[in-house]
């Protein structure tokens, strides 16, 4: 079995995704709260996995390799995060972009979680939706790069994939939240 897949950090991230998904899919009388927690949880997994890819990037730049992730096989991050041609957008590593993007999503979800009845809550829900949607083309681009462009492609970077799934999960949570708002089930006691 590829040793990357048994990496304890990766397992923790996968658990984070599983817990976030549970909050998104569970059906109880506090569904709106659950969805808000789910969006926050997905965004937290996303920001930490982005930070982790940035740590791997820094290790690879300075030391050429890292014990944090394998550089061999299809499932690995060495050839993806370590590729100077592709692991950047205008010279800035993707990990930094991930941290900044998920920061915005965390802020929006946290505001909604703390006060979902505020005057601005509907706007913030829409901002969260559009911000999440705006990230999806970048996810598609990065997956294409992994599969076709990096040296000896295809490769799948597991920690990058965690960040990608986090964004998709976030968009899913916000989608359900928007639905609840539209059908008048925003308050817990209406759900």
């Amino acid at each position: 079995m590829n040793e990357t897949l048994t990496d304890p950090v990766l397992i923790i991230f996968i658990l984070g995704l599983a817990i976030s998904s549970y909050f998104m899919l569970v059906n109880n009388e506090k569904k709106t709260s659950m969805l808000l927690i789910s969006s926050l949880s997905f965004a937290m997994v996303g920001i930490t996995s982005s930070a982790y890819t940035y740590i791997i990037h820094n290790k690879m730049v300075v030391h050429g390799s890292t014990a944090f992730c394998s550089s061999e096989g299809i499932v690995q991050c060495g050839s993806v995060i370590g590729d100077p041609q592709w692991n950047n957008l205008f010279g800035v590593p993707w990990g930094i972009f991930g941290i900044l993007s998920f920061s915005i999503l965390i802020f929006l979800s946290l505001c909604l979680y703390l006060d979902r009845y505020a005057k601005w809550s509907e706007n913030y829900l829409n901002y969260a939706w559009w911000a999440g949607i705006a990230g999806l083309p970048f996810v598609a681009l990065l997956v294409i790069i992994e599969l076709t462009q990096v040296e000896d492609a295809p490769h799948i970077c597991p920690f990058c994939t965690i960040a990608h799934i986090s964004l998709i999960g976030y968009v899913g949570s916000i989608y359900f939240l928007k639905n609840r708002r539209n059908i008048g089930k925003w308050s817990e006691n209406e759900g």
């Binding site: 791997i56 820094n58 730049v61 100077p84 041609q85 920061s103 965390i106 703390l114 009845y117």
Partner: protein
């Protein structure tokens, strides 16, 4: 008569939670940044002396064919100052630039003297000047000193079309010629050609031409590497 009751509308909190959210996010980011700095601080990357040389991945001509080349693959990350190791000489040229044309001989001389403990890398770029268009055939001819004539029927020559590439000063160059780009030039802050830099075996810039106006490349090699083998 029964009084009509106003519908129950949930009201938001009196305090603005966005400030709390902002502080919470700030705390999360601070913790993350501290962790990053503690576990793997970002390296100072750039072409200046003391900085880690900007990495690149591009096709390179090795005398037989064009293959992918990544600068960092030549780095010896275990190297420590004082130890023996293979240093790296990076040269930026435009095959149509007259100074690069004449520097061909200097590079041949340097290679004959230092090839035992220096990896030579030439990065070819195209300056935005009339008659400075070049293609892979011209780069190959420049490196190998093969015929690439001044007429359109046999190529458009090197040195802005003034010379057949076979007449380039110096011998054929037996090292990688990397296909450069404006991105690589930007990362290396190269404003004109030729440009030279010497890297330590671990990839840190030891000598940058722009920072050493009074010292030529031969003296710099001698100073940094000592006697050639």
């Amino acid at each position: 008569m029964a009084r009509r009751r106003k519908p129950l509308v949930q009201k938001g909190r009196d305090d603005d939670v966005r400030i709390i959210a902002g502080f919470t996010l700030g705390s999360i980011l601070t913790v993350l940044m501290l962790l990053i700095v503690m576990i793997a601080p970002p390296a100072t990357i750039g072409p200046s002396e003391g900085e880690l040389a900007p990495d690149f991945s591009a096709d390179a001509y090795n005398g037989l064919n064009w293959e992918n080349f990544q600068l960092s693959d030549t780095f010896d990350y275990e190297w420590e100052e004082g130890e023996e190791g293979e240093w790296i000489l990076v040269q930026f040229i435009d095959t149509d630039c007259p100074f690069c044309w004449s520097e061909g001989e200097t590079m041949s001389d340097l290679y004959s003297q230092w090839s035992g403990n220096v990896e030579f890398i030439t990065i070819t770029v195209e300056l935005s000047i009339t008659n400075h268009d070049s293609d892979r055939a011209e780069v190959q001819a420049f490196r190998d000193k093969t015929s690439y004539g001044t007429e359109e029927s046999d190529g458009d020559g090197c040195n802005s079309g003034r010379n057949n590439c076979i007449n380039r000063p110096g011998t054929a160059h037996n090292w990688n010629y990397v296909e450069g780009s404006s991105g690589i030039m930007k990362d290396w802050e190269v404003t004109g050609t030729p440009f030279l830099a010497i890297l330590q075996p671990d990839g840190y810039v030891a000598w940058n031409q722009y920072e050493n106006n009074g010292e030529d490349i031969e003296s710099a090699m001698q100073r940094l590497l000592g006697d050639s083998e």
